[in-house]
């Protein structure tokens, strides 16, 4: 009967059927486990990026169970599939918290999916770890942002191009939704504060899944031939990247002429393209698989063993989950409880090693400290790190370069507020 029960439970989360024996054993003795929710799309458009993160979470949970679990109990992963459907994210989040009674949820990729689950996490007072670089301008008590804020990715990347490549003209190209629009707004106002004129900035938005890039690449070429060094800052997301890079290669836009720095293209996305014509184009992240550190080497080995595939790559959001999961484990140990209120209080200030050889810390604004790395695409689909910050950079919840947000700070430790206005001295903007 127990086996039947376990099987039925696993049927609910289709992918969990592939779960390793440890979780099966965990399911059989349900009372003694701590449940961890994994909320990543396993079907639909975002499955391309999010399925990997589900696997990464399963691996991290298995590792922790091998180390003896948490507070003397085994961890049990509860995997659900929100199917790249934003309202379904909220439904599935409710299912995880209310029915499955998970202690914390790791998940979401797009900003719109995060916004969709926010009210659920607030209402049911649970914890979400969000692993993807995002546009900032947010700090919630129940959410921990382990991906990069704009000042940990976009701003340093632009600084690098201006300094190292002497770029004077900028194309800000993005997919038409909240992350690129906000990031480009921040970048535009940052560039203007650095003395870049408006005629030297070109902003272009394309729909999700845009596949015909001929006109836009030709426009970029034209914009770039005005005699000033030009670069493209790309916030193009998801599937649209492959045809974009293919068109760049076909029209002969080389990195030595017009470099493209991307914020959403990592090892996983490059796996579908022949990267030889793209050598030298850039990406800004907080982690690259090619980083040489003992932690990273061990992580990659474990990942390849876990997926039983020698060709699987690692990427930045995976590292964010690695950091977030370890921080949660430490906070639970510190609080001696998985109660969300206690964990939220305990986790600020927790430090864990990241995969690039440094230490990341959870800040009072629920963002973390990370190093910033700039990598150039190599012909094998990996990145060569050409620049990195000396130490770690603390994430800003509110950008200093936008009028509406430069006076705001988030502090959940002393002020207990996500948007404290330092001018009016009031919480709530």
């Amino acid at each position: 009967m127990a086996i039947l029960d376990a099987a039925r439970r696993n049927m609910k989360a289709l992918a969990a059927a592939a779960l390793v024996s440890s979780a099966m054993a965990g399911a059989a003795t349900a009372q003694e486990t701590i449940k961890v929710g994994v909320l990543h799309s396993l079907s639909g458009t975002m499955a391309i990026s999010e399925t990997t993160l589900k696997d990464a979470m399963l691996m991290l949970i298995e590792e922790q169970n091998k180390k003896g679990g948490l507070l003397g109990k085994k961890l049990e992963a509860v995997v659900v599939d929100p199917a790249s459907n934003w309202p379904l994210f909220a439904e599935k989040a409710r299912e995880l918290i209310a029915q499955e009674k998970v202690a914390a949820v790791f998940g979401a990729w797009t900003s719109v999916s995060r916004k969709s689950v926010l009210p659920v996490f607030k209402e049911l007072n649970s914890i979400l770890f969000y692993p993807v670089q995002y546009e900032g301008e947010e700090s919630e008590r129940n959410v921990f942002y382990t991906g990069a804020a704009p000042n940990q990715q976009a701003i340093p990347a632009v600084d690098y191009l201006a300094k190292e490549e002497k770029v004077e003209r900028w194309v800000l190209a993005g997919t038409d939704y909240v992350y690129p629009r906000t990031t480009n707004k921040i970048l535009e106002s940052y560039l203007k504060s650095k003395g870049v004129k408006s005629e030297d900035i070109m902003i272009n938005y394309t729909p999700f899944g845009h596949s015909d890039w001929q006109t836009i690449v030709a426009d970029i070429k034209k914009f770039g031939s005005a005699g000033k060094k030009t670069a493209v800052v790309s916030t193009i997301n998801g599937d649209a990247n492959v045809p974009f890079y293919k068109e760049l290669a076909n029209q002969g836009v080389k990195a030595t002429d017009i470099p493209v720095v991307a914020f959403s293209v990592g090892e996983e996305e490059l796996a579908g393209i022949d990267t030889k014509p793209l050598v030298g184009h850039l990406a800004a992240w907080n982690y690259f698989q090619s980083v040489e550190s003992p932690e990273n080497k061990a992580f990659i080995e474990k990942w390849k063993a876990f997926t039983k595939n020698d060709k699987r790559v690692t990427n930045d959001p995976m590292e964010a989950h690695y950091i977030g999961f370890n921080m949660w484990v430490k906070a639970v140990e510190k609080a001696r409880s998985t109660d969300p209120d206690k964990v939220i209080d305990a986790i600020v200030g927790v430090q864990v090693p990241n995969l690039t050889g440094g230490t990341s810390e959870m800040l009072a604004n629920h963002h973390i400290t990370k190093p910033v790395l700039i990598g150039e695409i190599k012909d094998d689909g990996q990145f060569d790190v050409v620049w990195n910050t000396d130490g770690v950079v603390p994430g800003d919840a509110w950008s200093k370069f936008l009028d509406g947000s430069k006076d705001l700070i988030a502090d959940w430790k002393t002020l207990k507020c996500g948007n404290y206005n330092t001018v009016t001295k009031k919480c709530g903007a």
Partner: protein
């Protein structure tokens, strides 16, 4: 004895000095490559390129290709054949040292490498190499290359290469303050005759302090080129439109058969395209593994296979699902929608959720320059391919017995049945034909789009739009519809942007359908009423 030792010491000293004297800038620069700093690498590159040492070209080439290696402060060149050479002597080096690492380069160094290659290969015996060199010098505008450039121009026999060399010289002369105004005016004239975007860039960034007549001539030349480019630009946009139209045509033409002539709303049509693309991927993987030499032909091998795979899945779907739903459009729509999800998830389970790499054969990479038009080979290939598929399909429907039967069944099912045509079988075959054509569209689309389980989804809406707009039941309508939508989209895009352009087009189609519900080329006669 003492004197003998002294002589010996003096001799050794002399020998040492002699070798020292031989160590030129080339030998001095080499160790800097081992420092793993981009500035040192760039400095060393400049010194090596300017040294005139016989090995300097090999070193620069090796650096470009990641074959310049460093170990313990020594520099080695790995030849393409795999042999290791000592970069100082050019002699073969025995067993490779343990900690051999490639000298890393970034974009800045890569640009310097291109410029250096340009200077070093201007006098190459290969015309292609000289052309590349001229382009590199044009871009770098490195005044140091001027003497070699003069020499190369004097010797050059190929007209194109000579022109490229001359515009490279013009680029250098234009930017130099100590050149006489007459020479600079000549340079401007040369750039004006070149007449492309790069020439405009050069002409509009004249350094400050140029004599007024030079500045005047430059701005005039730039304006002249710009107005000429405007015209080319319009032509270029039309070409982009045709190429987008041909993609739409490929995606929609299979649907024109299943939806257009059979009236089946097949939401799984996009998945047939996707299956065609995955067939290409599998074919390429097999070729990579077993016959790498045939990679150039991989797409031709994939075409019939994609037709067969997608076509047989189409027949299977028709036999097991759709034939029970004829005349019930809503149920067909829902059932095929479900099928499309099943197919997507099946592919996702088998091949994984991430994009699969489908390589582009060498003959499809690069671009063809016609005047100031740039036609990328892969787009040219797709336009030609779409036209071929269209004509073939027309001929099949017009001149084969299958085509005759399909047309007969489309016009009057019961009459065709009475005449002894097995309408069931024709339905299955026509559906298979439509699906198979979608499959070969997938082979073409794998060249320009993601090969992922979502590939088909992004084309299904556009395909229906084309078929409905063009007129249901008419292949010519599909052609005109696809081309109209493609060209309109591309002419709108520069002004309205990609997002707004699409919205404008959708509204236009809605209004058009209001006026002419049966599309551009409506079928006339009793068949419509039936």
């Amino acid at each position: 004895m003492i004197s003998l030792r002294n002589i010996l010491q003096a001799f050794v000293l002399l020998l040492g000095m002699a070798t020292c004297a031989y160590a030129g800038p080339y030998e001095d620069a080499l160790p800097k490559f081992a420092a793993d700093s981009y500035s040192d690498t760039e400095a060393a590159l400049g010194a090596v390129a300017g040294s005139g040492h016989p090995l300097s070209l090999s070193v620069v080439e090796a650096l470009r290709d990641g074959r310049l290696l460093a170990a313990n402060g020594q520099i080695f060149i790995r030849e393409p054949s795999g042999n290791l050479l000592n970069a100082v002597t050019g002699q073969a080096f025995g067993p490779a040292p343990q900690n051999l690492k490639a000298v890393r380069i970034n974009n800045r160094v890569r640009r310097a490498v291109e410029a250096a290659m340009g200077g070093l290969t201007l006098l190459s015996s290969d015309a292609g190499a000289r052309m590349d060199a001229a382009r590199a010098v044009f871009r770098s505008r490195d005044a140091a290359a001027l003497p070699t450039l003069q020499q190369a121009i004097a010797k050059e026999t190929h007209a194109d290469v000579k022109q490229a060399l001359e515009s490279a010289r013009a680029a250098i002369l234009l930017n130099q303050a100590d050149v006489s105004p007459t020479d600079r005016l000549a340079a401007i004239a040369s750039l004006r005759s070149r007449g492309d975007q790069e020439a405009v860039a050069l002409l509009s960034t004249l350094p400050a302090g140029a004599p007024p007549e030079v500045a005047e001539a430059a701005s005039q030349a730039a304006a002249a080129i710009r107005s000429r480019l405007e015209l080319w630009n319009a032509a270029q946009n039309v070409w982009y439109g045709i190429s987008l139209g041909s993609v739409l045509l490929l995606a929609a033409i299979g649907l024109a058969i299943t939806f257009g002539t059979m009236g089946v709303i097949n939401m799984a049509h996009g998945e047939m395209v996707m299956i065609g693309a995955y067939t290409t991927f599998v074919v390429q993987e097999l070729i990579r593994a077993y016959a790498p030499g045939m990679f150039g032909a991989s797409l031709f091998i994939a075409l019939p296979l994609a037709f067969l795979v997608a076509g047989s899945i189409g027949v299977l779907i028709e036999r097991t699902v759709i034939r029970f739903l004829y005349g019930r459009p809503l149920e067909t729509l829902l059932a095929t929608w479900g099928l499309s999800l099943i197919l997507q998830q099946t592919v996702r389970t088998i091949f994984g959720p991430t994009n699969r790499e489908v390589g582009t054969p060498a003959w499809m990479s690069g671009a063809l320059e016609v005047g100031s038009l740039s036609l990328t080979y892969n787009r040219v290939a797709i336009v030609v391919f779409a036209a071929t598929v269209f004509v073939t399909l027309l001929l099949v429907l017009r001149y084969t017995s299958l085509g005759l039967y399909v047309r007969a069944v489309t016009q009057n099912r019961r009459m065709a049945g009475s005449m002894g045509i097995r309408t069931n079988r024709i339905d299955a075959l026509a559906f298979g034909l439509g699906s198979g054509v979608a499959g070969i569209a997938g082979v073409a689309l794998s060249q320009i789009d993601n090969v992922s389980p979502n590939l088909g989804q992004s084309y299904i809406i556009d395909s229906f739009m084309v078929v409905v707009f063009g007129g249901v039941g008419n292949l010519w309508g599909t052609l005109v519809g696809a081309m109209t939508l493609g060209v309109a989209n591309k002419l709108l895009e520069p002004y309205a942007g990609a997002v707004l352009g699409k919205i404008v087009l959708l509204i236009a189609i809605i209004l058009f359908i209001q006026r002419r519900p049966r599309g551009l080329f409506a079928l006339k006669g009793r068949a419509v009423e039936a």
